[in-house]
Amino acid sequence: MKLKQLESLIGSLDQFENPKIELEQYPTGPHIASRLLYTAENSFEDVENKTVADFGCGCGTLGLAAALLGAEHVIGLDIDTDSLEIASSNATDLDLDMDFVHCDIRNLKWRDRIVDTVVMNPPFGTRRKGVDMDFLFVALKVASQAVYSLHKTTTRDHVKRTALREYNAASAEVLCELRFDVPQLYKFHKKKEVDIAVDLWRFVPQKDREKHL
């Protein structure tokens, strides 16, 4: 599938009707989502025939993009039941099979390395500090192959250091810097649209992780 086709298909998905500020619900735009998954598949072969988990899937954008690129089993996880309903109906609209689990990522107890790839657009932690790193910690435990994630560019050094030193990632690489358009969803947004500089990361989990982690 061509990048343009992928972008246009996921551009047709329904997004949050009433986004919840406490969960930092911002839709993942089709531009970013399509590039994330396209890169994961075409540069690294982390999608086709794989098991892919979408952490904090919201309306399912990243997970459904993975399914469109041939992921064999896709699981979307989110704490918000309204999002999961939209995500599930998005899957039906695209005639794609995707599983969903209603849960808090931070309490997830999956076996280590049970999925191949984790994709996520985590809450950036502006409302609850560090939540994006909590997601990353769990992602690096359950993924065997790679974790793709978006983090604010201003946190680049912190993300790299934490992933390598504390979470024992084998590698942590910024693939590109993107502009994340945050439309005026919430009342406290003064400007019509703000764009934030965001890094697209690829992390490789440590193969022989020490047990105590």
């Binding site: 025939n49 098991t51 064999e72 089993h73 699981i75 704490i79 039941t81 999961l84 599930s88 099979d97 599983d99 969903f100 689990v101 209603h102 849960c103 808090d104 309490n107 997830l108 107890k109 999956w110 076996r111 390395r113 049970i114 999925v115």
Partner: protein, 122 residues
Amino acid sequence: MRLLTHNMLSSNIKGVTNGFPLLIEVEKVVEKQVDFNEDFLRNMFAKIEWKALVEASRTMGYTELPENSESSMLNSDEFLRKFHHALLELHLEEGALVCPETGRKFPVNKGIPNMLLHEDEV
């Protein structure tokens, strides 16, 4: 929810040490056909907890999986087809997942298990 997802989930209640596998209470099962993908099955075979898959598929009314498995079985097309069906085509649509240690039920509605914990379970 496919049984592959079930094979990943465990009870994450605080203090629970044997939260896997979750028992299944079936209200409604649906079957959805998926293209057969041999490479995927071979790759998943090493990661799957076989006994949990066998029990889960039996609870869902599918009794074709052998009690024990070994990697040599992957050479049999018949075995792969059964594995494929149990792992990817059987969906728990309505029912519950039950913590094997505490009996706490996690409801499954419209195929989505609700694994959210109450405050005192975290």
